[in-house]
């Protein structure tokens, strides 16, 4: 314990390891220091100056980036500190639109909360020029409103470091500094992959999803439309947080009940087509291995990742599984199989996807995803949008009695449940591939090597006589590391799962927003994944091919996995994309 650092914070002695910051030490001493630009391990730049403390130095110091040193004496709540913090906050407010009433982040806004905590009594303590910024709402997934931006740069760091995309950054300087794309083009004309991680990083309402709930309300109010909804595996693990339930509460039953109250005609489960994806993908993998196809095969469930691959690693397009993502498969199946069964014309059906994801909004607009002559999916709303719809409909979510998904496309397995966590698709695929290849029943279902939050997970898996080298990456920066190692010839794999968001879909760009401070206590990637693994463990069926609905759809409709009909409905193709999309425009 010799290299522990002892320091005093507000008179309390505390010991921290070398490398700890004063903010870390304060947390350990149970002293709360307000922060705003700080996002652990992602944005540690000491820019906003909310966390300043007295250390005996000439000026106040930002606790979030100040290394703790031996015998340091820190004061966090002196008159000087309180005055400085409040002034800094009032200055931020003087350049903020303060339209809290109509802000999507009201009551879930770190700036609003600080104003309350620091007892700001005059939200116009400083007045002066405010620059009016145009709204950038041309992207199908993300809306940028710089009138609310506080220049904390959490989005910038997230885009650069966790996603290795880097399409936004500070431009101009001084008071004119704003977070923009290169050449101020709309986000839609950049290499943005639509993952929405920037939204989750934003402490205020400067970034939000492009809302499609108005479109969904319109569909629900249209008497001529049969409106069918489906929900992704990760939604149920997080929706409860919007209604005050602890992180990691599984609210499947209440969610289904709420969707019925909202007026959806059928409530189907994307978990069903997650199982279907496994049938198709495992079969595709085995085919590629047997027929010397392109390996490693890489999963294609995550549209953020698919966008990333097409834009930054187009040479890996042949490696992408041709399987559509589960909700697109569901859309295609609803407008064919369900339409036939229910004697409804596909044109009269609207498919709404509730997704943890903002990239799905871009995906749904892809022209190639229209198997029946109509878009497979008509509207995509995020978990957050669903919560807002439930609230605005006056539904008392917490008191709802659990209900089940509708029959036809509502069955699912534990394998599908874990799709929402990083490594889940891999694990689900391995469970099924094992039994297809060996013809034996898999005894140990849990593949622990592919679970968890390690940046890149690797495993050698024995499927009978076949030995598979697999890898799992989550967050596109980790995907970049993995792909670079393959490009360099340092690594070879047979099968890879990549999810665009860190932690997988449970931490998708459409999920309930967790404040920077709450993230320190409860990592949503861990808690929400736990809910999914618990669901898996408690299911009757835990392998996709055991799903009775899946057996039925192949018997009645699709034939075999990878059959001609399956290919027509459930598979797709990809296109290389220009990183500098504004150029495409200027050329044409």
């Amino acid at each position: 314990m010799n290299d522990m650092i002892k320091l005093t914070i507000d008179g309390l002695e505390v010991e921290v390891p070398q490398g700890a910051t004063v903010l870390d030490a304060a947390r350990k001493a149970n002293v709360r220091i307000p922060t705003l630009c700080f996002l652990e391990e992602i944005n540690e730049i000491g820019a906003c100056r909310m966390c300043v403390v007295e250390t005996g130095a000439r000026t106040l110091q930002a606790a979030c980036v100040l290394p703790a040193t031996q015998s340091m004496v820190v004061k966090t709540n002196t008159r000087r500190v309180r005055h400085a913090r409040k002034t800094v906050l009032e200055l931020i407010l003087s350049n903020h639109d303060k339209k809290c009433l109509s802000c999507i982040r009201s009551q879930n806004c770190e700036l609003q909360r600080l104003a309350l905590e620091l007892e700001v009594t005059d939200d116009n303590a400083f007045t002066g020029e405010r620059i009016e910024y145009p709204l950038d709402d041309l992207s199908p997934s993300i809306v940028r409103d710089n009138n609310k931006c506080i220049n904390c740069r959490r989005c910038v760091s997230t885009c650069y470091t966790t996603q290795a995309v880097g399409v936004i950054g500070p431009i101009d300087r001084g008071f004119e500094t704003s977070i923009e794309t290169a050449w101020d083009t709309p986000l839609s004309e950049t290499a943005c992959i639509g993952c929405g991680q920037c939204i989750n990083a934003c402490p205020v309402g400067a970034l939000r999803e492009k809302e499609e709930s108005p479109k969904v309300w319109k569909l629900l109010h249209d008497p001529d439309k049969i409106v069918v909804v489906q929900t992704a595996p990760a939604v149920r693990a997080a929706l409860g947080e919007e209604f005050g339930l602890p992180m990691g509460t599984n609210v499947t039953g209440k969610m289904v009940a709420a969707l019925r109250r909202l007026g959806f005609d059928q409530v189907f489960d994307t978990d069903f087509t997650a199982d279907l994806t496994i049938m198709e993908e495992a079969t595709e993998l085995i085919g590629r291995i047997k027929n010397q196809g392109v390996l490693p095969m890489i999963t294609s469930c995550s549209p953020g990742w698919v966008n990333y691959c097409e834009t930054f690693y187009p040479d890996f397009i042949p490696n992408l599984s041709s399987c559509k993502s589960p909700h697109e498969m569901m859309g295609a199946v609803i407008k064919s199989y369900y339409a036939e069964k229910a004697h409804i014309l596909p044109k009269d059906i609207a498919v709404v996807s509730v997704m943890p994801c903002t990239a799905k909004k871009i995906e749904a607009g892809r022209e190639e995803l229209a198997a029946n002559g109509y878009p497979d999916v008509d509207a995509v709303i995020t978990t957050r949008e669903l919560a807002r719809m439930i609230r605005s409909n006056g539904i008392n979510f917490l008191n709802l009695k659990d209900e089940d998904f509708d029959n036809l496309l509502g069955d699912s397995t534990g394998a599908a449940a874990i799709f929402g966590a990083t490594g889940g698709v891999m694990e689900a695929a391995l469970r099924t591939a094992y039994e297809i290849i060996t013809g034996e029943t898999l005894q140990a279902l849990d593949f622990h090597a592919v679970r968890g939050l390690e940046a890149v997970k690797e495993a050698d898996v024995k499927l009978g006589s076949l030995s598979l080298k697999v890898a799992v990456a989550h967050g596109t920066a980790n995907a970049k590391t993995l792909l670079d190692s393959i490009r360099a010839g340092e690594k070879t794999y047979d099968f890879i799962e990549i999810m665009g968001c860190p932690g997988g879909c449970v931490n998708g760009g459409g999920q309930p927003i967790v404040s920077a401070e709450e993230r320190l206590r409860h990592d949503p990637r861990i808690y929400r994944a736990k809910a999914l693994y618990a669901a898996d463990a408690g299911m009757t069926y835990r392998k996709s091919h055991e799903n009775p609905g899946i057996k039925r759809i192949y018997e009645e409709f699709l034939g075999e996995p990878n059959s001609h009909k399956a290919h027509q409905l459930l598979h797709t193709h990809y296109t290389p994309r220009n990183k500098y999309k504004y150029r495409e425009k200027s050329v044409s």
Binding site: A47, T59, A62, T87, S94, N151, R173, G174, F175, T177
Partner: protein, 447 residues
């Protein structure tokens, strides 16, 4: 001399950083030398950006070899084999001469591999600044060399521990380095023979403004301001009255006549609310409005703020807006207090030196010329008759009706019969002063 002897000589000499901070150079080198790490960098800050200052430029253009020699000495002392000179692109001659000097030094084996047959190697690169004042801040400078947007990083960790590319680095300004070879040649005692105990040596100032002899001035530390202004500078032109001297560039402050006998030293200047800075010295006379001077310097720092931290990005801007309204006659009771409150918070919370010192010109003028602020705010009057919007031109009864003023007025604001009293329509008057210059009878006054 062993590396530690070089450092000891430098420490003994008492040389302090000439870039503004006044940190003891020997101690800085020692920190870097002791910092663990195989790879270390020596950096020269030649991003001289204070308006009107060109001390470093004169060294870069006049004696670039002094700098190269000092940087090699520094490399030897701290254990570095690579240096960067970060010079502003607006100094093309300096850049050209540096390039020539580096080439010459390489030819003579004074930099490069195995210098003078020893096992010490040291080479240099030039990096051009892109016109951002903040890149003179050492961490912003290093961030810029690394190819990123020139923005400061929090300190600690200091460059000696975590500098360029995360390696221990020693960074000094041009003038500091230029002192080093002479100190090594002549010894610490020689250097200490000049200047004062706390600030040995000499300092170069860029003397400008309302002064007869403008240009670069080198004086021993401790010389009183009065000597520099009246003896070296030759006093104020046109018999005007001295009002203040602004030292330390946009981060410095204004020193009034009552303090002209203060010796020029790092610490004494800070005590009276200004600073040495890199050596800018601008003399102001009775025609200068001190509120407007504060506004001028703050306008510079607002423009040059990088925008990273809140207090500098927004706070200095809010201060500038208050000053703008004061000089335009819209000042309100409480504005001075608001300026002081903002200044206090900005100095206490800004991320780097630029923001922390930006309020200095405002605070020092409030401190010594508060009555001018009061006159602007309460009486809507600029005592120096400088602020146009608070100014009226009037024709007194000295007017002989010669009509010269009416003919020169570009706004057609002056009317009057020939040989009769003329009057100025203040609504039309644009306060260009053409009439005042034209009038042979001193009949037109500013009120």
């Amino acid at each position: 001399m062993r590396p530690r002897d070089v450092i000891k000589t430098l420490k003994d000499s008492g040389l302090r950083g000439r870039g503004g901070g006044g940190f003891p150079t020997g101690i800085k080198w020692e920190l870097c030398a002791k910092s663990p790490g195989e790879k270390k960098y020596v950096i020269c800050n030649a991003d001289e950006g204070d308006p009107g200052a060109f001390m470093d430029r004169s060294v870069l253009e006049g004696d670039p070899h002094a700098l190269l020699e000092a940087m090699a000495l520094c490399g030897y002392a701290v254990g570095s084999d690579e240096g960067y000179i970060y010079v502003r692109a607006e100094y093309p001659i300096a850049v050209k001469r540096l390039e020539i000097a580096i080439r010459q030094a390489r030819e003579y084996g004074l930099i490069g591999q195995n210098i003078l047959g020893t096992d010490f190697s040291f080479d240099l690169h030039i990096r051009l600044g892109a016109g951002a004042f903040v890149c003179g801040e050492e961490t912003a400078l290093m961030t810029s060399i690394e190819g990123n947007r020139g923005e400061p990083r929090p300190k600690p960790p200091f460059p000696a521990v975590h500098g360029l590319y995360g390696k221990p680095s020693n960074i000094n300004n041009v003038e500091t380095f230029a002192n080093v070879p002479q100190i090594i040649l002549n010894g610490a005692a020689w250097f200490k023979g000049m200047g004062t105990k706390r600030s040995p040596g000499t300092k170069v100032f860029a003397l400008g403004g309302k002064i007869n002899n403008t240009g670069l001035v080198e004086v021993p530390m401790g010389t009183p301001l009065r000597t520099v202004i009246y003896d070296v500078g030759g006093g104020i032109p046109k018999g005007k009255k001295f009002k203040a001297v602004q030292t330390g560039g946009p981060s410095g402050g204004c020193i009034p006549a009552s303090l002209l006998d203060v010796p020029i030293e790092y610490d004494s200047l800070v005590e009276i609310g200004s600073m040495m800075g890199s050596g800018g010295m601008i003399v102001l006379d009775e025609d200068n409005c001190m509120v407007d001077i504060a506004r001028f310097f703050l306008d510079f720092t607002v423009d040059e703020s990088c925008g990273k931290c809140t207090p500098c990005r927004v706070g200095t801007r809010r201060m500038l807006e208050i000053l703008n309204r004061i000089v335009s006659g819209h000042g309100q009771e409480g504005d001075i207090e608001k300026l002081e409150q903002l200044a206090e918070s900005i100095m206490d919370t800004a991320l780097c030196g630029l923001g922390q010192t930006a309020p200095n010109p405002v605070l020092s003028t409030i401190r010594y010329f508060r009555d001018e602020y009061d006159a602007h705010i309460r009486d809507k009057h600029c005592p120096s008759h400088h602020c146009k919007e608070l100014l009226h031109l009037e024709i007194t009864d000295k007017c002989r009706g010669c009509t010269a003023c009416a003919r020169v007025c570009p706004a057609g604001a002056i009317t009057g019969e020939s040989r009769g009293q003329h009057v100025i329509d203040t609504e039309k008057c644009i306060k260009c002063n053409s009439c005042i210059e034209k009038c042979r009878f001193d009949a037109i006054i500013k009120v």
